[in-house]
Structures are given as structure tokens and as C-alpha cells.
Subunit: 315 residues, 2 copies
Amino acid sequence: MTRIRRGYGGQALSEYLQARRAEIDAALAHVLPQPPECPDVLSDAMRYSVTAGGKRLRPVLCLASAEAVGGDRAMAMPAACAIELIHTYSLIHDDLPAMDDDTMRRGQPTLHVVAGEGMAILAGDGLLTEAFALLAREPRTADPDVVARKLRVIGAVAAAAGAAGMVGGQAIDLASVTPDPSGRRTPPLDADGIRAMHARKTGALIRASASSGAIMGGGHERAIAAIDAAAAELGLAFQIVDDILDVEGAPADLGKTIGKDAAAGKPTYPALYGIDASRRMAGECLARAEAALAAERLADSRLLEIGRWIIERSN
Amino acid sequence: MTRIRRGYGGQALSEYLQARRAEIDAALAHVLPQPPECPDVLSDAMRYSVTAGGKRLRPVLCLASAEAVGGDRAMAMPAACAIELIHTYSLIHDDLPAMDDDTMRRGQPTLHVVAGEGMAILAGDGLLTEAFALLAREPRTADPDVVARKLRVIGAVAAAAGAAGMVGGQAIDLASVTPDPSGRRTPPLDADGIRAMHARKTGALIRASASSGAIMGGGHERAIAAIDAAAAELGLAFQIVDDILDVEGAPADLGKTIGKDAAAGKPTYPALYGIDASRRMAGECLARAEAALAAERLADSRLLEIGRWIIERSN
């Protein structure tokens, strides 16, 4: 398969990922609101979902992007954590009975199963709000350059997570499978519609993860744009691979029910194009990501390795 | 009762409120995400709730606070709108079946009744996220002073709306009336607990409305602190008056079911102290607000008139 890379002081990607995840998990534990300021019942609920594991793809991309532009990982850590909080909130709300109605996530009962629907809604609301509090608060500095970067990242993350981004994608997804109270239901999505839906639902936040890291790392505009473009390709590849895994399995990896999307009649890449073509499409995303990075001499960063790792999950 | 004030070019408070509400409603219509960037179904849902009326107390306080410190209302308008979006999201989620299960709000069916629970959850998520996108985006300027103010306001609003503020208050409220899936239920709140719950649930965002206006208006630190302290009193007065109205009525004003909180066994000020003492307590809040403002020569602003208006709703 792809060669195991041993640059960066001989550190393989697996070691890099392990080290970054440990840093991220430690930082997340630190930024989560604590009692007594945060009520115990809410603190428990937020912590349950944030510490339930997960690949930490988005924060890793954020940190790797800061490094790719020659920046300091520590500068990007608040953005990395904030984006993981937003990702976690989106999973909590997506799993609710009124949405996907999932009872298992990352191999554990979903939050609404253990804490109740109301508390799960509030925990999601709290995580989303705390993400912006964190982005405004850290890194703590009055340096006008960093203040301006922080404001730019807040704008980028909010746009990616909002009505034109992730929440918009969720709304399109929901409306395509669930009729509203008057029985109205949007027509099924075609291939273009699915790609656009995924670009919002998962792609936008993955892009924002990478571009936020590049911004906080102090990258030049062209480097930020190249990393953003590459991350858009990685986000699409990630979605295609997720659809393949939904058909083919790897339940221990996914920690959720296999075949659920297909059974729910949700349009998936394998259903539209078949498994082989879907794999090929994911590979083409990676090639385009490499071209975007190479144009700015960023192809030698960890970003492309992370892209390969995304693809290999489906092989 | 209180004299009708006719300063400010002879404009009575009612005219001032009407003018500010018209400005705010126009600005809100402008800042709400539009199709095609925002999916129609989500845009419709967000717009339904934001345009369903309401007193616009929070944005009016925000604008009046900017004026009180000698600032420009236009500088505070994005914060005013963002806070109203956050207030609206909190009502949508609070009304959900898993929370208060309200079917009427502001005299109209609640959003989940007309758009479904899933879409109502997403519309709330979208409004919360768009609030931060707006705070990061506007006013559009690279002026480092304004950039720093914007970042400070984002931090203040997120803290007020988050786990230590509004969402935390909702969680305490929910846990006090609804057992979790394992049957666990927190003990009933005593008088101190109720005050602390309300300080989070409604007080924090009302304070942030006023202090954000003072910050964006360029107020000095002592003026910002005085306005924040006064707004904390007004927020408590508002809650006491709301509890009185829940007992006494004025359903056309409230646009919701009377006696609902009392019937649900929620602890209210009239239930704890009686109607007369509750009214007196609200008046004492106003007196303390006046003292805080007077110490910084801010008592001659619209803020105190707005406080009197809050109290008069219960008379």
C-alpha cells in the first residue's frame, strides 16, 4: 500500500497521531466548563460525549495545518479544541430521536439515552456556545495581530458550522428523509445534491479545521487558501470512505450500527457509484489535495499523510 | 405612577421603544441567513421564530447602553441582533417536547409544532451559530480598537449564553423538574437556588445585552461595570415580574398559557413570597439599578426608564 513515512525525526504518522491526540485530549479536559460555575448535571453530560473517544480528525488537522505553515501548535490548540467541541455537539444533536435516532455512538450509548433528551439538547447547546467562548478567550494575548486572527477564526468557524454550512447540511439531510408536520417532504437528492449536502454537513467544518490552524499558525494568504482547498478534498474523501465503511463494516472502528444509512434510504456514494468507483473517487480527492498543497510547497507536511490515512480506513 | 419622561427631544419612552424596535426588526431581517446559501427549509424555520414578535427587550437594552456611554447605536446593532438571535434560539429549544413542551409562544404555534422537532432543534442551532458569525463579521472594520471590542463582546456573550450562564440555568431548571433516565432528580430549589438559577437562565444574557452595548459604544471600564451591575438588577426585576404575570395574567401581552409555571410546580417568586412582596422586591431591584447608574452619572439615560417599563408590566 502507501509507504509508511518516517520523516520528522523518524516519527511515523501513527506516532504523530497518538501524540497529537494525547495533547488534544488533555487540552479538551482542561477547557470543558467545570463545577461550580457549570452545574454538575450539565458538566457530566458534556464530558460524557467529549471524552467518549473519536478519531480527533478535525483538531489533528488544525494542529497539522498550523505546523504546515511553520507556526506553533500551541497557538492553534484553542481552535482545535473548539472545533472538536462543535463536532461533538453536532453528533449529540444528530443522534437525537427527532433526528437520526441513534442509540449507539463510538461504541457507547448516546447521550440522550443516558442523560435524557432535554439534557442532551442542552449539552449540545452548551458545547457549541463554549466553543466560541474558548475561541474568544484563548490564546490569551492583547497582541493586535493575534486578536485579529482570533476574530477571523471565529468568523470562519461560525460560517462553517452555521446555516450555510453544517447546520444547513443537516437541515437538507433531515428534510430529505423526514416529512414536516404538514407532510411536506423535499424531493430525494440526486448526485449533485448529495455532494453539496455533504460539503456543508461534514466538509465545511473539516475545511475550517485546517484553515483555522493555518490562520492561527500565522500562514500567508496563499498558504491558507491552499490548505483550505486541500482540506475540502480531504473532507469529501472522508465522507466517501465513511459511506464505504457503512456498507462494508469495520464496526469496531466505527462504533456504530453498520448499514444504517443505507437501510434508512439515505443516498450514499457506494449506492450511487458502487464500491470500486467510490474508492477511486476518494483517491482522486487525495490527488487533488496533493496538487493544491504542492503548488504552495506544502505537500511535504503531515497534511497529505493524514489524507492517506483517511483513505486507508476503507481499504 | 411613575412620571412619563419627556427628555431627549420630547420623545416619550413608548416612542423610543417603537423606533428602536423598528430599527432592530429591520436589522434582524437583514442579518438572517438567506437562500441559496441557507437552505429554504432552515431559513423559513429561523425566520418564523425571529419574526414572531416579542418585546426586543435585550436588543433595546443593548442599543440604549451604547447611547448611555455616548456611543453610536449603529456600532452596537450587530451585538443587539446577535443577542436577539440567541434569545430566540433559547426559546425554540426551551419549548421543545423534551424541555418545557410548549405549543404556543408569542401568540403563535411554537416552531416544533409547525416545522417538526428536528427542524426546530436545527433552527435553534443555526440561530446560535449565526449570532457568533454576525458578532465576528460586523461592524466591518479593521480598526484594532473595534476588533478588540468585538472579540471582548463575543467572549462576554458566549459566557453569558453558555454552561455557566443561560444553558447552565436551563440545565438546573430541567433537572429540578424532570428525572433523568435512571430516575435521578435533583432536590427542589430553595429561594437562593431559584435566584441563582434565574441569574443564569435569564439574568446573564440581559446583563450581556447591556454590557455589550456599553463596550461597543466605547464606554469606559467604570461605565461598563455600572451598566452591567444595573442590568443584573433589571434582569432580576424582569424575572420577578414574569413570575407575577404568570399568576396574574395579561395573556395578550405574554402570548402564552397563564399559570403554566405554577401548575408545573416550578418555584416562582409569588409562590415563595406572595404577590405584594414580589412587587416590592422588583421595585427594590430598580432602586439598586438606579444607584449603580447614578454613581457613574448614567441615571439620566434611557436605561432606568426601560427598568421602570419592566416593572410597570406587572402593575
